[in-house]
């Protein structure tokens, strides 16, 4: 990954936005971007600019997500939806190997073939999602052992991030230092500007291939001064962000407050339904199930998304360790903001707010941290 200092930037008029998609197609990428589906903005294959959520705005709060169509024909005036890169790079259900009996012997052969996927270009990712991707890189391919399923999908991604000029109702990226503007890890960063009947995009290259693609686009008017202007838009997004996590000394405070009474309160409210962990772009837990063929001649091992909120998650010899919902909530919160640092050197939270929006009873992790910090 290249460090993404603004080396090369250009201005793309709205009417020429299709040329960006065309340039990706010419390079053989399958484009995945935001579309409106099932009352939400989700990540799915995109062929043309008309499929993007033109004019759609999302309104999010604790346990609530609503879409609203406006007359302003913006392409990216929404924040994060229920989906993230995770579903493409870390499939929710994945066969990881197949084993077969050889004749009468019990010897097994293992087929660990990992299928090659298409080259994906993602458009419309948010800075917090790039931060989450960086964390997943550490988890899946950054250590001694690499996850082959993730590795093969991670390769050759073309990442187009859209900087946020508006904060969602549950966002707190500014306090986690992951947004609203992407600092690194992208090929192209887009900032959308819509004002006084002017509709254009500032595009910044963050990698060699990103910058070489920019050169092919139909360049708009002079860009001077406008890069400065978009700075004001990021500042506005930070100012309107209603939620925050005070991160100073948080790792140690949480480690010392394991018996804080707030865990009893939140344990009474929490449904242990696992929604928060499954929408989280950094949660990476999985379980494996072995499925035999009826005769027992062969068996598949299937990996599925799992969650620390399920009873089976902590099942060891003798039974599950985390019987109470309180202990499961505490495990999750403390992992995200404390033990994750021991494990990977960063917070496990990027401030995207998905766990707050998609909690069916609206539990707010930022409020819980305020209470536990005391």
């Amino acid at each position: 990954m290249k460090e993404g200092k603004t080396v090369n930037a250009c201005l793309l008029e709205r009417k020429h936005f299709d040329t960006l998609l065309d340039a990706l197609k010419v390079r053989g990428y399958k484009i995945i971007g935001p579309i409106v589906k099932d009352n939400a903005i989700v990540l799915e294959p995109v062929e043309s600019v008309t499929q993007l959520p033109i004019g759609w705005v999302d309104e999010q709060s604790n346990g609530v997500y609503r879409l609203r169509k406006t007359d302003t024909p913006t392409l990216f005036n929404f924040t994060v939806g229920p989906h993230s890169l995770k579903q493409y790079l870390f499939p929710s259900v994945q066969k990881i190997f197949m084993t077969q009996r050889q004749g009468k012997s019990t010897e097994s052969t293992v087929d660990e073939k990992v299928e090659r996927k298409k080259k994906y270009a993602f458009i419309g990712l948010r800075p917090c999602e790039l931060a989450a991707l960086h964390i997943h890189d550490m988890v899946f391919i950054g250590g001694m052992y690499s996850d082959p399923v993730y590795q093969v999908r991670r390769k050759d991604l073309f990442l187009i991030v859209v900087n946020c000029t508006r904060a969602g109702g549950t966002c707190f990226c500014a306090s986690m230092k992951t947004g609203p503007r992407a600092e690194r890890g992208y090929d192209i960063a887009i900032t959308e500007v819509y004002e006084k009947n002017q509709h254009y995009f500032i595009l910044e290259g963050g990698s060699d291939r990103g910058m070489s693609l920019l050169k092919e686009l139909k360049q708009g008017k002079e860009i001077d001064g406008r890069v400065q202007k978009v700075q004001e838009l990021y500042t506005k997004a930070v100012q309107e962000m209603g939620k925050a996590v005070e991160t100073s000394k948080l790792k140690d405070i949480l480690a010392q407050q394991l018996e804080h009474p707030e865990y009893d309160n939140v344990g009474n409210r929490c449904l242990s339904c696992a929604n928060c962990t499954l929408v989280c772009p950094t949660c990476f837990c999985s379980t494996v199930e072995d499925v035999t063929e009826l005769s027992g001649a062969s068996a598949d091992r299937i990996r599925k998304w799992d969650s620390c909120f399920t009873l089976d998650f902590s099942y060891i010899h003798g039974g599950p360790v985390r019987l109470s919902v309180k202990s499961r909530y505490r495990q999750w919160l403390v992992h995200k903001f404390s033990t994750w640092i021991d494990q990977f050197g960063t917070f496990g939270c990027v401030g995207c707010g998905r766990c707050i929006t998609w909690c069916p009873v609206g539990i707010d992790i930022t409020e819980e941290i305020v209470k536990i910090r005391g």
Binding site: G81, C273, S295
Partner: protein, 262 residues
């Protein structure tokens, strides 16, 4: 178990109590897989499929339906005595079924309203699950059960392994299928967060809330869900209806509906 099947195929029996037959139909519904299953087990007693019935004892008994009559309360003990492994299939057998709605009222009144000659009707006041009467080795939830679960349990038995039957919430299945939460996007009252998975999130994938066909999940927090729905403006009456479906008499759902009835 893998060895014994070489000598003799395990014998399977299917029993019916108070039920609609939908669950045992799931076995017949395994059209592509049924011949494969029959290669490994002898379907020895399955009246819905064949009049040819072999005598017990049986290695596996699948029991459908709830206990609603004095006669059935006796019969289930006979079934248990003939069965090495007894597996209940469906909401009736595991929770009393939709007919357990009678448990919240006086069944005698219903009998007198429905039948011209109530004296011929011999019924118990409550519809109860099989596990209230005999020891049950495994319970398959659902209204109806998922046929792939049935195959999985038979498969696990044949191969001497634990069946992969989840106990977590329906929400996990929604998320694995990338179905955006209908409760969050549309404020649809959905039992998914307190209901055991198994249907592969069928209703939410068709833009409906979960009806709770698979009964309560492990550690279901029904009261927290109710509090939230009440705060959203739902009435207590709605909550009673929400929890009183096919698994109305399961402990968690029963207690929750009763809490809102007064």
């Amino acid at each position: 178990m893998a060895k014994s099947k070489k000598q003799r195929k395990p014998k399977l029996a299917v029993w019916k109590f108070a039920s609609c037959d939908g669950c045992q139909l799931s076995l017949l519904d395994c059209e592509d897989e049924l011949l494969g299953v029959a290669k490994h087990i002898e379907i020895a007693n399955f009246a819905e499929a064949s009049r040819a019935i072999s005598k017990g004892p049986y290695d596996i008994s699948l029991v459908e339906g709830s206990i609603t009559t004095p006669h059935d309360a006796e019969r289930i003990h006979q079934v248990r005595r003939q069965s090495k492994i007894l597996i209940t299939i469906g909401a009736c057998a595991t929770a009393g079924g939709i007919q357990a709605l009678r448990n919240f009222k006086d069944a005698k009144q219903f009998v007198s309203m429905v039948y011209a000659n109530p004296k011929y009707i011999e019924t118990l006041n409550k519809s109860t699950p099989i596990a209230d009467h005999v020891f049950v080795d495994f319970e398959l939830r659902g209204c109806p059960i998922n046929k792939y679960h049935l195959l999985e349990v038979i498969n696990a038995y044949l191969n001497g392994r634990k069946p992969n039957i989840p106990t977590y919430a329906v929400c996990v299945e929604c998320k694995r299928r990338f179905v955006p939460c209908v409760a969050v996007t549309q404020a649809i009252p959905c039992l998914g967060p307190v209901t055991q998975a198994g249907c592969n999130a069928l209703c939410p994938s068709y833009n409906r809330g979960c009806f709770g066909c698979y009964g309560p999940k492990e550690t279901p927090n029904t009261s927290a869900l109710s509090s939230y729905l009440l705060a959203q403006g739902r009435s207590r009456e709605e909550l009673v209806h929400l929890f009183r479906n096919f698994n109305a008499y399961s402990e968690a759902f029963r207690k929750e509906s009763e809490a809102h009835e007064k």
